[in-house]
Amino acid sequence: MKPKIIPIRQLRYHWPLYLFILPAAALLFTFQYLPAVTGIFHSFFRWNGSDISEYVGWDNYHDLLSNSEFWQSFKVALLLGTFNVLKMIPPLAVAVCIHRCRSQRIQFFYRTMFVVPMVIPGLVIALIWRSFFFESTSGYLNRFLISTGAMNVLGRLDAFFGWGGVFAAGRSPAWLGEPRLILVACIVWGFPWVGSFAVLIHLARLQAIPKSLYEACEIDGAGWWTKFARLELPMMLSSLYLVFVFVIIDTIKDAGTIIALAGFEGGPGGVATVPALFMIRKAFIDQQMGYACAVGIVLMVLILATQKLATSLVEWEDHSPAKRRLLQLLIAVLLIALGGLVSIWLLAACAAITLAIVWARRHRRPIDWDPGPSTWCPPPRKPHSPIRRAVADLWPRLLKHGYIWFILLMALLPLYLMLIVSGKENVQFYAAPATVTLPFHWENWSAAARLVMPTVANSIFISGFATIITLVLALLAAYFFARLRLPAHGLLWNALLLLMMLPAIANLVPLFRILHDLNLLNTLTALILVGASGAIVFAVFVLRAFIADIPQDLFEAAEIDGASHWRQLHTVVTPLSGAVLGTIAITVFVNVWNDFVLPLIIMRDQARLPVMVQLIRMAGEYIKYWGPMMAGYSLASIPIVVLFMLSMKLFIRGLTEGAVKG
């Protein structure tokens, strides 16, 4: 429903509605727009963040654009992005397989089982991979490759292709210490890549497909692939697009994973330096804050352009021929400009995804379900014997469940290792790293609790308050945008939409300065306010769509009864939006909980650290005590797993009710 337009002369009746947007606007202005604007300003200065500030014109940009390290970092991001796009496939396949299970109980079981690896913080998984899988002398990856003989095969391949002796029989490659392997490690980590909420988002979309369509497919004799290609994929386009856009943006702006895996130098030879890490290094090691602001601006422009290009490609069929030609030209220019294998890989992956989406859209018509005589075809003949029919049905089912279990076990492996190692002493760990050993040292947990629990309390405090602030301010702002169309409505909405696309990481440097000027560095308040300001945009976007769908009659009835806007929000909107608010709350809580780049930069005192930063510090110890460290990782994950377990139903309901409409 479109909001009713209010002309200026009627403003005196509705002006209090502006008060609804005011708190969110103030927060967004301070922590999102102001950093962006001051970032542009500072990018023209030689600025060290404190006493040196000299105007240099375009020098920073000129210098940056001629800096080969910067462009190299983009190549790395493109390579990682290509693989991140490909990593979208396993969650999609898992969601489809789970959805195809006939029994509701089995579906519920799988869904519940997948929640645990999904909600374990990405940082914990990255640190586990760094410590256990990639460790050169006793890491699981090398042990696996050596024990299965795969290392010998790799050694032969190395000799054949001339990889320079990275792999050799009897040698344990250092995955994070070898310049030629570090990017492979950055791609492989997290296998089978079913983290984040992708599986749940896809499942929610799949559940929205009417059963009648499946029945119609059955009657038509559609096979599993036809069902997927002609029914499920077209229906999931919006969620796929959402995940696709997030993947692109995340890849360019992500520095946290690389910091966790390879450190601030981007590993040996700086091979794994991505643009965001390049910027952080410039700002917080070289103290070239003005230069870093210029990096942020270039990053922002490139992300916006990438996003625009992705949207244009997905909406290919809706464009006029002239626009299509323009896009083709643009892509050709990009191809030439980027050059190199990496860009071709990325564009090939983007093209593959786009083609799949376009193809699915082209075949969208059957969903409208108008089976004319020409499209009808008789169902294939099935084997008459019930035994043969059962056998024929068995293989696909076995494959489906086999795939789900394989992915599930692989996804649970880090969790398993984390738990068993948490009860080991170092001697036990070195002797038997992958199996349970006795005695189980519970004292590791008490040692870890002393180190981690205060930071867990900090994280709950920060995430809890950030969630509350987000919900309250976003609900007010969404009501403003959904209910009526006041003057400046469009301007404000577009300003908000622009923020959705701005990468927060690009603002990190000026944000740091603003927090300094507000005397908020090294405070929990800073993390709460910045966390909330980052989450509000998405929350408003989702809630506005939801509120706009509430029947207008309800509001009109309330207005006739003399209800003010506040009253309408309280009595009409809030009771109806429980599930969506719940979903948003969980998403915000988890995101703020998992964030560690900002706290890593702005927090100083041990007593105020959030748990993620504490985990990074624990991982940097000289002599690692594996048991307490893994117990610490477990303690950092437990609150978030419990929260999700307690609220999963609400989360799924929120997703199906429209939280992923965007």
């Binding site: 963040g49 070898e178 130098e265 030879g269 709950i460 090294n522 510090r617």
Partner: protein
């Protein structure tokens, strides 16, 4: 009915759990906040990267002693940051004015040039403090002796030449040696002690690498982690042939070589990476690194220590800081030997021509602390530093950690006697780290060279290209830093002049000597030095600022500051 009740209970339980967890978190945060801000309590924050458990214990113990003996209202809080991120963390805290009150020296984590500019900008000069007697030495033979002179090296390391000030206070002394597993060496090579001759050492490494353990895995001769151990190999061994470069690039004839001088040398064509000594250094790296741990460039310190402790590696180069933990890990399993680095001597057929003598074993004065300008209780912070550097305090601190005390007449663990430094010989003449960017580029290219991805010619070509393209920018930044310090010094000089003018006759002479020393060394000497450098570069078209080539606004600021300081000084004298 029961189902509905159950679901209500479940929903309520979830809610209670979530609210309960949130309430606990709030209570916990508030309680800690109140504890930290208890009335009358002074909280002193110490930031360092000494992750050894014993170092934390030592600080805690000395802090407890300080509370008991001196000031019960002082609460001392440690922030221990892994050294892999200490540089970034400390830089951020300094620029955000949230630096810990006492901060460990950043040298080694950022280029020295950067560190000097940080010291000038963010730290309190301590000359005044260290030239007075330490009150906590009362009743000891060091009573009444100025703090600086109670140090074994007269606190040479705490004095920053570039700033002409004592800026940091060291707590311990370090040295690096090659540790080895005696039993494993004997088993694999038949030798009782590690060779110190370069060629013999290579041969021993070759023998070790050819042997396999009971599982068929080859032994690693040298456990080494790139960032932690490789610099020691460089400084104490691989850099030995580079000393000859000093004759080409020591433009100011001070007997030292700086990154600026190397840069000018490259820019003006007086030296290049074709210099035989530099080539020899990298040849030595090429010969030695195949015996290092696989992928050592990106490994962390614990991975190298692990390999050594598991008896998979024979040698590990490390310092006094690891001596105790290595001994503990070896106890009952193998015996640990300590040896000097196998530096080639003049008789070496390949490197002999480039070796001028033994390598100067610079005593590494570590764990030095400065007082941040942003510290709200500078007097308490300085007092705690005095406590830590008193004879008793320093001895106790180092006894707990297992390191070498820096203060004279303190007792020492007999095991550490092997770390007595050799204070003669040649030192490095290849420091290309002009700024943070060149440091990262150099490290990255060196990693690629060590991993065998590029050869020396490629390495030299890439770095020279970088130096010629980006060097001017970093060099100019260094010049600007110097000019900024120059402005600060103008202020200091003005106040010293005022003090000399207003001093009573008995003290006036000393005050004038101080003033002239500052002018001669810090102002005139450095200005001539920079002028010479600028003249060298102007010849090739790089415009480096000359002395007194100060912007009008900077001069204005200096005048204002001088006036303010001078007025304050004269007021204080009256």
């Amino acid at each position: 009915m029961i189902h509905r009740m159950l679901s209500t209970v479940r929903a309520s339980l979830s809610l209670v759990l979530i609210i309960g967890a949130f309430a606990w978190a709030c209570a916990s945060v508030v309680a800690r906040h109140e504890q930290a801000n208890a009335p009358g309590t002074i909280t002193l924050v110490i930031g360092h990267w000494q992750l050894e458990t014993s170092a934390r214990e030592a600080f805690d113990q000395l802090a407890a002693d300080y509370r008991r003996d001196v000031n019960p209202n002082v609460r001392i809080e440690q922030i221990v940051v892994p050294d892999s991120m200490y540089g970034q963390w400390a830089s951020t805290q300094l620029s955000g004015d949230t630096a810990p009150d006492l901060m460990e020296c950043l040298e080694g984590h950022i280029p020295r040039t950067k560190w000097i500019s940080y010291l000038a900008r963010y730290f309190v000069p301590l000359s005044d403090v260290v030239q007075r007697a330490n009150p906590y030495d009362a009743g000891t033979p060091l009573a009444g002796v100025p703090l600086a002179q109670t140090y074994k090296d007269d606190m040479r390391y705490g004095y920053i030449d570039e700033l002409q000030q004592y800026m940091v206070v060291p707590l311990s002394q370090f040295a690096v040696r090659v540790f080895y597993n005696r039993d494993l060496l004997k088993r694999l090579t038949g030798r009782d002690v590690a060779p110190t001759n370069y060629r013999e050492f290579l041969e021993v490494c070759r023998q070790i690498a050819s042997k396999r353990d009971e599982h068929g895995h080859p032994f690693t001769p040298i456990a080494c982690a790139g960032a932690s151990h490789f610099p020691s190999w460089e400084q104490l061994m691989f850099d030995a042939p580079t000393y000859g470069a000093m004759r080409l690039i020591d433009f100011n004839r001070d007997g030292c070589h700086t990154p600026e001088e190397l840069y000018i040398g490259i820019e003006t064509g007086k030296i290049s990476f074709d210099f035989p000594g530099y080539r020899a250094k990298f040849q030595m790296i090429r010969e030695m690194t195949p015996y290092f741990q696989n992928g050592f460039t990106g490994l962390s310190r614990d991975e190298a220590v692990f390999l050594f402790a598991q008896q998979h590696a024979v040698f590990i180069p490390t310092g006094t800081w690891d001596a105790r933990s290595l001994q503990e890990q070896a106890r009952g399993r193998f015996s640990v030997g300590i040896s000097n680095f196998p530096v080639p001597d003049k008789t070496d057929p390949e490197f002999g021509p480039y070796i001028d003598g033994p390598v100067y074993d610079m005593p590494m004065i570590g764990i030095s602390f400065g007082v941040a300008r942003s510290c709200k209780h500078q007097d308490v912070a300085i007092d705690f530093l005095r406590y830590l550097t008193s004879q008793r305090g320093n001895e106790k601190f180092n006894r707990i950690v297992g390191w070498i005390p820096t203060i004279r007449d303190t007792s020492l663990d007999p095991f550490l006697a092997a770390f007595e430094p050799r204070l003669f010989g040649v030192f490095t003449a290849l420091d290309p780290k002009l700024g943070a960017e060149s440091m990262i580029t150099w490290n990255q290219l060196e990693s690629l060279f060590e991993a065998g991805q590029i050869d020396y010619d490629e390495f030299a070509k890439r770095f020279t290209k970088y130096e010629l393209e980006r060097g001017p920018r970093e060099f100019a930044e260094l010049q600007r830093d110097w000019q900024r310090d120059y402005v600060i010094d103008e202020g200091i000089a003005a106040s010293m002049r005022a003090q000399a003018l207003l001093s009573p006759p008995a003290q006036a002479n000393a005050a004038w000597i101080n003033y002239r020393a500052l002018i001669a060394t810090q102002q005139i000497g450095l200005a001539i030095d920079h002028a010479r450098k600028a003249a060298l570069l102007r010849g090739i078209g790089i415009d480096a600022p000359a002395p007194y080539d100060i912007r009008p606004d900077a001069m204005q600021a200096a005048r204002r500051q001088a006036l303010a300081t001078g007025t304050a000084q004269s007021g204080a004298t009256r």
